[in-house]
């Protein structure tokens, strides 16, 4: 029963989030700031994770290719496919749910328990729209760029790990990366990324906004935000894969 109530509250929250902003100029500036806070400040961790993720995918693929019937370019092909279809959009989004989601929930939760949100409401500002909408726009706009970078860096990490260790040659890896390429895979990955970005920000904002109590409760909200964002991302991933690829 409480889950149904929570879903109802979440939908009600979204209705307020997408109501007409009081002042577009202020919202625009906040969106730019959020792009920096949510997006650009996450670039470092995304880059590091992507390089090592790609390197491990390529090495594991190479180490599991026991059959001599499998061509060497399969390493590049599998690295590219698994990175574009799953690892970059989903795994990086899960990492971002941890970094960005906890940050959003604790920021909004702290504002709630210190009455800053009440102060916004008293002034006549739609606090949900003011706080959440710029974050949603910033993440839905910027996360696809992060994921495209992640895809490139993952493939690069895979390339260096297998070519430097002599498991395959430059030509074979590059041939594999280019083999059987479908543009639709990139579109599928970016659609997923936009949906995941929306989930991360909206679910985390929900837990932050409805925080009750003090500092301890802000911590709890932050944890719940990460847990539930991750669960919803995994569910959405399953549904989107069924809808788009099947």
């Amino acid at each position: 029963m409480s889950y149904i109530v929570s879903i109802g509250k979440y939908v009600g929250m979204l209705k307020d989030v997408f109501s007409k902003p009081e002042r577009f100029k202020v919202y625009y500036r906040r969106t730019i700031t959020e792009i920096e806070t949510i997006g650009i400040n996450s670039a470092g961790i995304v880059a590091i994770l992507s390089v090592f993720m790609g390197a491990v995918i390529a090495l594991q693929t190479a180490s599991n290719m026991d059959s001599p019937l499998l061509p060497k370019y399969t390493i590049g092909y599998i690295t590219r496919s698994s990175t574009i279809l799953e690892f970059s959009p989903t795994i990086i989004s899960l990492i971002l749910a941890g970094k960005v989601g906890s940050n959003i929930a604790s920021e909004i939760g702290t504002m709630k328990v210190t009455e800053q949100i009440d102060a916004l409401e008293i002034m006549g500002v739609n606090s949900l729209s003011f706080l959440v909408l710029p974050k949603i726009i910033a993440s839905v706009f910027f996360f696809p760029f992060l994921i495209i970078c992640s895809m490139g860096l993952s493939i690069l990490g895979g390339y260096y790990s297998v070519t430097a260790s002599g498991l395959t040659s430059h030509e074979e890896f590059v041939y594999g990366v280019r083999a059987f390429f479908k543009t639709g895979d990139i579109i599928y990955a970016l659609v997923k990324t936009c949906v995941f970005a929306f989930i991360i920000v909206s679910v985390s904002s929900y837990f932050g906004y409805y925080t009750k109590g003090g500092a301890l409760d802000v911590g709890k909200s932050s944890t719940q935000a990460v847990v539930w964002s991750s669960i919803v991302i995994l569910l959405a991933n399953f549904v989107l894969t069924q809808l788009i690829l099947m």
């Binding site: 009081e22 002042r23 800053q116 009440d118 102060a119 409401e121 008293i122 002034m123 006549g124």
Partner: protein
């Protein structure tokens, strides 16, 4: 003037406000006093619309807040200033940005006009030149003064102060009380102060409402509250040793 008519508010089985009625007049400092857990904060939140009332009405100069749609409520809220217990300054903004925030959201002032207004408000609360400080760099008293400056930046008709002296030393409390009183008279605002502090009652209370068990138990002036024979008020007013001693000396 703010008029509260027969407000009821419950949380499940817990009936917090019982047919609460009161009038808060313009140009006066109206105090709501009472022990903890008697419904002061809930009453304030109902008056300013942060909580919906179960029944009853709140009238701002005759305009029924509880019957207003979202747009009308938004408009009336630009006429309300509020000083929160913990100041509620926006952590990510400087002092100046905090004061300019409502101006940015609801007026079409130029940046220079907004800066001038912010400086005027800061001068008014004796914080000239502290524009660029962050809230974390301010003392408790300074935070309250910035919160007052932010509350008056839009020239509000109604000012609410939720325990403005909590966490402050006696001399700073006195300063904040004087400031609230001065700006109330200066701007002819309807000011409602929620407090536990008997010093505030004596210093600035033009009209006092004593809330007990969620009811308007007693109302009157500061001279009347000292003379009252009402036992609940006597228990509240003379709870501290200091007030008992004072009463003995006066007697």
């Amino acid at each position: 003037m703010i008029e509260v008519r027969d407000i009821n508010k419950s949380f499940g089985e817990n009936h917090v406000l019982h047919d609460f009625s009161a009038k808060f007049e313009a140009g006066k400092v109206n105090l709501i006093i009472g022990q903890s857990g008697q419904g002061k904060s809930v009453l304030t939140k109902c008056i300013v619309g942060l909580m919906e009332v179960d029944s009853g009405s709140v009238l701002y100069d005759g305009r029924d807040f509880s019957k207003m749609d979202r747009k009308e409520r938004k408009d009336i809220r630009t006429e309300i200033g509020m000083l929160f217990q913990g100041s509620a300054l926006f952590d990510s903004m400087t002092v100046e940005e905090n004061i300019m925030f409502p101006l940015k959201m609801f007026t079409k002032m130029s940046k220079k006009e907004m800066l001038d207004r912010a400086n005027t408000c800061l001068d008014r609360v004796d914080l000239t030149g502290r524009n660029k400080l962050m809230p974390a760099e301010l003392s408790g008293g300074m935070m309250k003064r910035v919160a007052i400056a932010r509350a008056i930046s839009m020239n509000p008709k109604y000012l609410f102060c939720d325990e403005p002296n909590s966490g402050l030393d006696p001399s700073t409390s006195l300063l904040i009380d004087s400031l609230i009183q001065e700006i109330t008279y200066e701007y002819n605002m309807t000011t409602v102060v929620i407090t536990h502090d008997m010093n505030s009652v004596i210093e600035i209370g033009d009209h006092i409402v004593f809330i007990h068990t969620g009811r308007n138990w007693w109302q009157g002036t500061k001279d009347e509250i000292i003379k009252t024979e009402n036992q609940e008020i006597i228990d509240f007013v003379y709870a501290s040793k200091f007030m008992k001693t004072l009463k003995g000396k006066l007697a």
